[in-house]
Amino acid sequence: MTTFADTMEQLDLAEVDARIAAATEQDVARALARERRTIEDLAALLSPAAAPHLEQMARRAAALTEQRFGRVIQLYAPLYLSNECVNKCTYCGFSHELPITRRTLSVDEVLRDARILHDEGFRHLLLVSGEDRRHVGMAYLIDVVRALGTLFESIAIEIQPLREEEYRRLVEAGVDGIALYQELYDAERYNLYHVAGPKRHYRNRLLAIEAAARAGMRSLGIGTLLGLGHWRREAWCLGLHARHLMRHFWQSRLAVSFPRIRACAGDYTPDLPVTDPEFVQMLCAMRLFLPDAELVLSTREPAHLRDGLLGIGVTRMSAGSRTDPGGYTAADHAGEQFEIEDGRSPAEIARLIEARGFEPVWKDFDRAFVAPGPP
């Protein structure tokens, strides 16, 4: 099987840029009119030529999302296990060299945060950590997942890349989803930001999500961190990656994310910022290209934008998130990964979703799918 890492190695990004730049208004019109869109159509929809058609794109995206997903928004919460990290990444608040308070939650502390999230209504949990196997290793992860028991219907992970057999052990323990963002598909720029540590290995990171899929992860989350790369190019590669995974792992559901970089302890400001209209164009283009993918929006985005994007294509949102380990309970906060823009509580977000004519969905999975039930 050709891996997506192989595909990326053969891809000429300059040629991708040229294709996007060359798209005409007719290409955009053709892309909009089609029922199923090709990767060429995606290039047109991401191009400057599509910018004047943003409203039309948004209408199509909204209609497609409604038909496929209905009038619902799924809610999830991240739970940060640890901010220990062996990587040096210039944009991240957990970067190894930063003088932040480092902390890894004990299993009991995880449960404390988890109960708060459960009480708030969450049934989909995302376990997040920096990348340090000495603190967040297999034994620890399995202990955490076992301890969480049936508190949550769905448990996903966003941690360092693992090997296929390790993913398999987590699936057996009850993990059903993974988020592993490549951050940057442009390998040259990738090296500028990932200065030291295992994350520097672009190819290893790109291969890991396929190992997770082979191991049986039902939800695969991929993403690019906007602000580091040329967004049109990055979005096009993200679309190509999504399609690759859908073809090869037809039983897994795809979730696509494109967080914009935020301030953190590293005082990083994005080199290639993405404006709000560009962000919306990208989101619409992704929906039009991937009618079936979950599109995820985190609390990194400001409230007004999150509200506006509710009806356009987003299907999954976090709410009331803390990005420091123990953040939901601890009095003294450890270093956080990034600053939250949308600080509204889960209940407030749920009310807002309802006010916009959508149902907030807290449960869209059942533990019985993955864990043996009564005989």
Binding site: E66, Q67, R68, F69, G70, R71, V72, R123, R218, M246, W250, Q251, S252, R253, D292, E354, G357, F358, E359, V361, K363, D364, F365, D366, A368, F369, P372, G373, P374
Partner: protein
């Protein structure tokens, strides 16, 4: 009412007076869903076990439905294989007390097309355990017979993929399934407009199941009423005994008229 009354719709010994079944997903709120269900006149409501917590008496979806009026039909949507579907079914029966189950095994999360092999496997197990199994299937006549043979209470072939609103794209296969069936045939999935529902009933289906068409309508209650009327209209049309379909106008002077004419007059 004139003509021959339709055979009653009976599933596992239970007579259902409405031939419209309704799904509960994708609505803007549990209240919007409950109002649409009410307006549809349905007696059978399917609920995704994935979406509700059957152990929670305050579950918003279940609490919104008046379960004294409707029979609950839990479904296993999201199950990727027989084992998962069976596990979910057992939990649902333990929590709700109903043995009725809409069996959905949909390993492909995009088009949500049913897996025939796993569906048959799960049906065998569940029927043996006493479930009333209503399997969601592709419009495959042989599979429909196989499921009937293992003891399923109905078959539920699709008109087109779930949520697509594309109507009865599988019409030719549906006709064969209906012709051969000993159990009720419920056309499920892809029914986007009342005319599609009417078409299915006119074709001879025993019932239809509708969800997305109601949930994403601007006015789900009005759309539910429209479906109710369409299904009733089609029932009435079947009772009325429609004339045969022809692709040309029928000659008003019969071609064989000469047989009845007297010989003398024709010379």
């Amino acid at each position: 009412m004139s003509g021959k009354p339709l055979e009653k719709l009976v599933i596992a010994g239970v007579e259902l007076h409405s031939r419209l079944f309704v799904g509960t997903g994708k609505f803007a709120s549990p209240q919007a869903m409950a109002q649409a269900v009410e307006a549809s006149g349905t007696e059978l409501v399917t609920v995704a076990l994935r979406r509700v917590d059957v152990r929670d008496p305050h579950d918003r979806t279940l609490a919104a439905l008046d379960l004294t009026k409707y029979r609950l039909l839990p479904n296993t949507s999201g199950a990727r294989n027989a084992d998962e579907a069976v596990r979910l079914a057992r939990l649902a029966r333990a929590a709700t007390g109903t043995a009725w189950l809409k069996l959905e095994v949909t390993p492909d999360p995009n088009y949500l097309l049913p897996d025939p092999i796993e569906t048959l496997r799960a049906a065998e197990t569940l029927v043996a355990e006493g479930f009333v199994v209503l399997p969601y299937i592709n419009a495959d006549p042989v599979l429909a017979k196989r499921l009937e043979d293992v003891g399923c209470a109905t078959v539920m072939p699709l008109g087109s993929p779930i949520g697509s609103n594309r109507g009865l794209r599988t019409a030719d296969q549906l006709r064969i399934i209906i012709e051969q069936a000993r159990v009720p045939v419920v056309v499920d999935a892809g029914i986007g407009m009342p005319s599609h529902a009417a078409e299915a009933i006119e074709m001879g289906a025993d019932a239809v199941l509708v969800n997305t068409a109601l949930a994403v309508a601007s006015d789900p209650v009005a759309m539910a009423r429209a479906f109710r009327l369409a299904v009733q209209a089609a029932e009435l049309a079947r009772q009325a005994g429609p004339g045969p379909v022809s692709d040309r106008a029928s000659a008003s002077s019969p071609l064989t008229g000469f047989l009845h004419e007297s010989k003398g007059a024709s010379a």
